[in-house]
Symmetry: C2
Subunit: 331 residues, 2 copies
């Protein structure tokens, strides 16, 4: 979605058209998994339902399946599973970041407190694994379990590096590979594998997912730094507040003059609330924003290149367009 366009729903509906019915099927499976007769828990499920948003991960899984041979019944279940894992991580992320807004709605921690938010995330993880183990084969459960481990490790490394202003670009990429790209790769992997694709196709779709995940996260971090809160619909400036370096800042500290470095470091170390805006102002027109955008675009191009050997299909076209979309939305 380029700047100036309408926010994504109409365009996404077009992108998702090759798997629209399957996506609807997955959404119903997800809703069925979360039926509960306890009012409190039912209310919480209803509330986190608002966080689904773009359904990027289920759509990627289903489009990968379609592009790799065709959607089968297992894919409906798996698409619901990856969304449950994703939403569980969002709910816990909001606890970690003490965030108040998520997709234009109040966060669970804001409304129900940290305790219920921790438990809601646990409940969603448990539902993911419960639903996943309804399949005949263990392959998906094992892969989703491993992916959840990798995502947690990435997030722990990120938290551990709060306040580490010497974080390198390689370390940053390692962290986002784990915390974001791993799950996106797994979506594409599950789509291809359960479609009965050959190993080469599975490998290509995994490579697509991994590169797409990296492009997405770099673009998301850019939005957090210089995006518009009302437009994006969630609390922004969290990375700076938590003293987590992202790509433009890492680049700025690497290539800036001694004076520029000192000015940015002073702002990063300061505890004054408006430093997010000051940092954005400092860096907005620097080459560091352009650099981070270029790296995101490179991963996006690499994702699209991985699709080139797949047979042409509307699903493959949608995947290619999604790889463009993640780096052009609202930037």
């Amino acid at each position: 979605m380029r700047a100036g366009g309408q926010p994504g729903t109409v365009r996404l509906a077009e992108l998702y058209a090759p798997v629209a019915e399957h996506l609807e099927h997955s959404r119903r499976l997800l809703a069925d998994e979360l039926i509960c007769d306890q009012t409190l828990i039912s209310d919480l499920y209803h509330h986190v339902g608002q966080f689904h948003g773009k359904l990027l991960r289920p759509a990627l899984l289903l489009l990968s399946a379609q592009a790799a041979g065709g959607v089968r019944p297992e894919h409906h279940t798996l698409a619901a599973v990856v969304e449950l894992v994703h939403i569980a991580t969002l709910v816990h992320d909001d606890v970690l970041d003490e965030a108040d807004i998520r997709r234009r709605a109040a966060t669970v921690n804001r409304l129900w407190g940290n305790g219920q938010a921790v438990l809601t995330g646990d409940l969603l993880y448990s539902h993911a694994f419960h639903l996943c183990s309804s399949l005949d084969s263990q392959f998906a459960a094992r892969l989703v379990g491993q992916t959840a481990i990798t995502v947690c490790e990435g997030e722990m490394m990120q938290v551990a590096n709060r306040g580490n202003f010497e974080l390198t670009e390689a370390e940053y990429l390692d962290i986002i590979s784990r915390k974001t790209a791993a799950l996106v790769e797994t979506c594409c992997h599950l789509g291809a594998r359960y479609a009965g694709a050959d190993e080469a196709t599975v490998r290509r779709l995994r490579a697509f997912g991994h590169a797409l995940g990296l492009a997405f996260q770099i673009a998301d971090d850019l939005l957090d730094l210089i995006g518009d809160e009302a437009e994006v619909g969630k609390s922004l400036g969290r990375d700076v507040l938590e003293r987590e370096l992202t790509l433009p800042l890492i680049h700025y500290l690497r290539v800036g003059s001694a004076g520029e470095r000192e000015r940015l470091l002073a702002l990063l170390r300061s505890s004054e609330p408006p430093r997010g805006r000051q940092i954005a102002a400092l860096i907005r027109d620097s080459e560091s924003i352009a650099y981070a955008k270029a790296v995101a675009h490179e991963y996006s191009a690499s994702a699209r290149a991985a699709l080139s050997e797949l047979p042409p299909s509307p699903a493959r076209d949608s995947l290619g367009t999604m790889a463009e979309f993640v780096v052009t939305r609202r930037l």
Copy 2:
């Protein structure tokens, strides 16, 4: 373990003797599952290793297996899985309760902060499901997933009832059935099922586990109210601090005179720190302590009764003794 006896290790070693080698095997599987080359995460694993303590759940699973036909290789994996789920809940409980001490060691939230504690719990859950899905059949993964859902629901109901001083005994029992008894029942269920036991044996061991879980939790809540912190090795008085009613208080509010009720309610509503001690003093010699002990003993007796139809074996004897142990330790 009666007051005045040595804390449990020697006695537990005797109880666990019928499955000692199997327990050791499970412990190694658990350690292997948690190998990680990231220092931070490795340190966290090492730290939570101290929380294993009594290994009650793995031991129950293995003893149930032994009593129901014999331990098989799947049981080693499953015993590690239930311990991982248990430790994940402990780490998150300490976040919910803002607790500082767990098994004479500092809690994860105390040492690394709430963020890392939330993620450590998530990581341990993920390892549980990852390890569980290494088995050939999906039965265990599905049951463990459902059990984790039930445990979370119980904990959420408990948190939602903080400050509800009209909680009934039936509601309290429903909460502890979910948050504690469900996992203990699942341990015995998995032990029996993977030993190839007939349905009647599975049913009896499930009933044993459920009753044992209830007895254990009622006794644990009694310890929290009137136990000795140095002896128990964790922060006590948390229930009162969180305004969570447990059985003796529910009974006291039900049978006490109007004056006694008012005095207890005033203490429960007060925000003065020492009210835990005052409540303990108020209730220590009342019939409400005796009542809660009697209910715990009834569940313990019911657990032992469920074992009576099983063929005699050292494993069955150990299970019976464990049902006694949980209501007599340090009370």
